[in-house]
């Protein structure tokens, strides 16, 4: 399994949930390490970008080509309708319904709390821009991939 690109997300599920033990460490949107595995409505969490924003695949024969995070199409297919894209072997995966991306502008730089520095802090990845809500920013390689609104 690859190490995923992570972004800040906010939990918006109906009920509090438990994060699976052993899969952490978990960090909130401010880069603080979570001290509880309980995730409540409104809590933030750094999590794989594709889980929050979805991802796009292009099926080429028996190979599945990942086009990246969010809903993306190649420039030569940008004019196609959703039905035509599906017929062209695009496979769009939606993000989780119980998380939403945190708007990047409200984030502070990641900070590790000194009081929790007993364990070596795990690397905190920089939050990635919400590419679904900021279409002017390229999702991957702007020369090859164009986002669909």
């Amino acid at each position: 399994m690859e190490t995923p690109q992570k972004i800040a997300a906010r939990y918006i599920g109906n009920h509090a949930v438990l994060l699976q033990a052993g899969m952490g460490p978990y960090y909130d949107a401010d880069g603080k390490r979570l001290t509880s595995l309980v995730l409540s409505y409104g809590d933030t969490l750094m999590m794989p970008a594709e889980e929050v924003l979805g991802k796009t695949y292009l099926r080429q024969g028996e190979t599945l080509l990942s086009l990246g995070i969010g809903k993306v199409v190649l420039p030569e297919n940008a004019h196609k309708s959703p039905e035509e894209l599906a017929a062209s072997n695009y496979e769009f995966h939606s993000g989780r319904s119980d998380f939403e991306p945190v708007v990047l502008s409200v984030l502070e730089p990641p900070v590790e709390e000194p009081a929790q520095a007993e364990e070596p802090p795990a690397p905190v990845e920089e939050p990635t821009p919400d590419t679904s809500s900021q279409p002017e920013q390229p999702a991957k390689d702007a020369s090859q991939i164009e986002e669909v609104q």
């Binding site: 399994m1 009920h15 309980v38 995730l39 889980e51 496979e91 995966h93």
Partner: protein
């Protein structure tokens, strides 16, 4: 030099589920039930041997005609998981929330993403303070559960403001004039003052559903880490805000913040439908904790069968089989989130058998209700994978063992009535209903098959050990010649404030 293998633990696995909003578009899973042994994923292949007249007796080649996925899941479900899986099993739009007062209609349409308030016809029950959650447009395609701020304003029609905490303060979907708007639960209010752990009272903004004399089981701060279920004494005191005292001299375990919700359970009534919603299922087999196994995301899955079962002293379990259309390998592990509620126990059950809470209703040792949707899995066009899955005929089969008390069951099923004495063609009809209520008085599961036709009574088998006779009963659920609008129905009381 000898090397040491790195085996992968067999409990390194996960099952994740989500409902597909657009059929065929996979959705990252958000429901991760804790699985039991018996859960599995298998590929379902149709193969064709190609024998050709090449003068030999050798198989020439093999062709793969179709590829799909079969998934099995065995769980001990929590109250919100039950709502999700029952919805998948019963079919699309099977989940109806039992709304409560206050209930009125829209006096004007509303625009999703724009309207910051709704115009409502009546203000009864909407004159308190604080927030309230209401179902707007039940029965329409744009139904939503939104949060509003009380009181309404105006002189009629009245203005009901969307709470700032909901969807940026705007209603999410379009709604038409005359659409219904009603409370999502009998008691449905919010703290208007914070409460500390150890407190004996709570102060809330309205008293809807909490005016009678008695007690009510309510959830405080649902969705938060401080969620707890308490029993309060009703009615409260005050003219608004209202103060309620915890029953039995209990105290709050957790602190609660002003604005947090307080409500009785949301009641989801889920009945069998003509076809099912698609789900995405992701299964990881040795892919957690950095292990090098595989994770597979299967899109467009439907429930082939579901079995709800329990036995004396045990846990209520669900066994489900799914069929899926197509799969892809996942490259990154998901964020696994687990429901933070309790499982249901057999001892929490109250049984009604053939309309009676006595007789064999008190003698049941185990039960199972198996529902088969008989998916049509042969729909295939130009692709290797299936083009669609649809529900076939519904079959609901019941089995339950009772401690043998007398011969009346035998007479009912084979001789036409409890007093019959000779062979009879009459089918003995009954009904099956069991309600599991957790000690909190909040989480509840009701399994109901309103018309069952008995097909077999296992005859008591004599044994020399001299212990006790038991009878195995079998029955099928019917529509009672179309008189019932459903064959099987599940009602779950939980904290899922929107439809599954």
């Amino acid at each position: 030099m000898p090397t040491v293998l790195v085996p992968i633990r067999s409990d390194n696995a996960y099952w994740g589920f989500s409902k597909e909003v657009v059929p065929g578009t996979p959705v990252a899973p958000s429901v991760f039930p804790r699985w039991q042994d018996g859960s599995s994923l298998e590929y379902d292949l149709k193969m064709e041997e190609i024998w050709e007249g090449d003068g030999s007796r050798r198989l020439s080649q093999l062709v793969k005609n179709q590829q799909g996925v079969k998934i099995k899941l065995t769980i001990m479900p929590r109250m919100n998981e039950i709502g999700f899986f029952e919805m998948l099993a019963m079919g699309a739009s099977s989940d109806t929330i039992t709304t409560a007062s206050p209930s009125t209609t829209l006096s004007a349409g509303a625009t999703g993403g724009t309207s910051t308030s709704l115009s409502v016809a009546a203000n009864t029950g909407l004159t308190g303070t604080g927030n309230i959650q209401m179902v707007v447009g039940q029965g329409t395609a744009t139904v939503e559960t939104a949060t509003f701020t009380l009181p309404v304003t105006g002189g009629g029609p009245y203005v009901l403001a969307v709470a700032a905490s909901y969807n940026g303060g705007k209603i999410a979907n379009n709604h038409s004039s005359a659409d219904t708007i009603a409370s999502v639960a009998t008691a449905n209010t919010a703290f208007t003052s914070g409460a500390s752990a150890g407190a004996t009272t709570i102060i809330v903004g309205n008293n809807n559903g909490l005016t009678g004399s008695g007690t009510a089981s309510v959830v405080l701060s649902p969705g938060t880490a401080n969620e707890e279920i308490v029993t309060i004494t009703t009615p409260g005191t005050g003219a608004g805000p209202y103060t309620y005292t915890l029953a039995n001299a209990a105290t709050l375990k957790n602190a609660h913040t002003s604005g947090d919700f307080v409500s009785t359970p949301v009641i989801h009534v889920i009945s069998d439908q003509t076809d099912g919603a698609y789900a995405t299922i992701e299964v990881g087999l040795g892919s957690l904790y950095g292990s090098s196994g595989i994770a597979l995301r299967v899109r467009s899955c439907k429930v082939e069968s579901i079995k709800r079962s329990g036995k004396a002293g045990g846990v209520i379990a669900y066994e489900m089989e799914f069929a899926g259309i197509a799969s892809t390998v996942q490259s990154t592990p998901p964020t696994i989130t687990l429901e933070k509620h309790n499982i249901f126990l057999y001892t929490q059950g109250t049984w009604t058998l053939d309309g009676s809470t006595s007789g064999d209703a008190l003698n049941i040792e185990m039960f199972d209700i198996q529902q088969k949707n008989n998916l049509a899995t042969e729909i295939q066009t130009e692709q290797l994978t299936r083009a669609a899955l649809i529900f076939g005929n519904l079959a609901v089969d019941l089995g339950f063992d009772v401690v043998y008390q007398n011969g009346s069951r035998i007479q009912e099923v084979y001789f036409g009535s409890s007093t019959g004495t000779t062979d009879s063609q009459t089918i003995y009809l009954g009904a099956f209903n069991v309600s599991f209520l957790q000690p909190s008085g909040f989480d509840q599961l009701v399994l109901n098959v309103p018309t069952i036709a008995y097909t077999k009574v296992g005859m008591p088998a004599p044994k020399k050990d001299g212990k006790y006779f038991k009878q195995s009963l079998s029955a099928v659920g019917t529509s009672n010649q179309g008189a019932n609008t459903y064959v099987a129905q599940t009602t779950v009381y939980n904290t899922q404030y929107s439809q599954n």
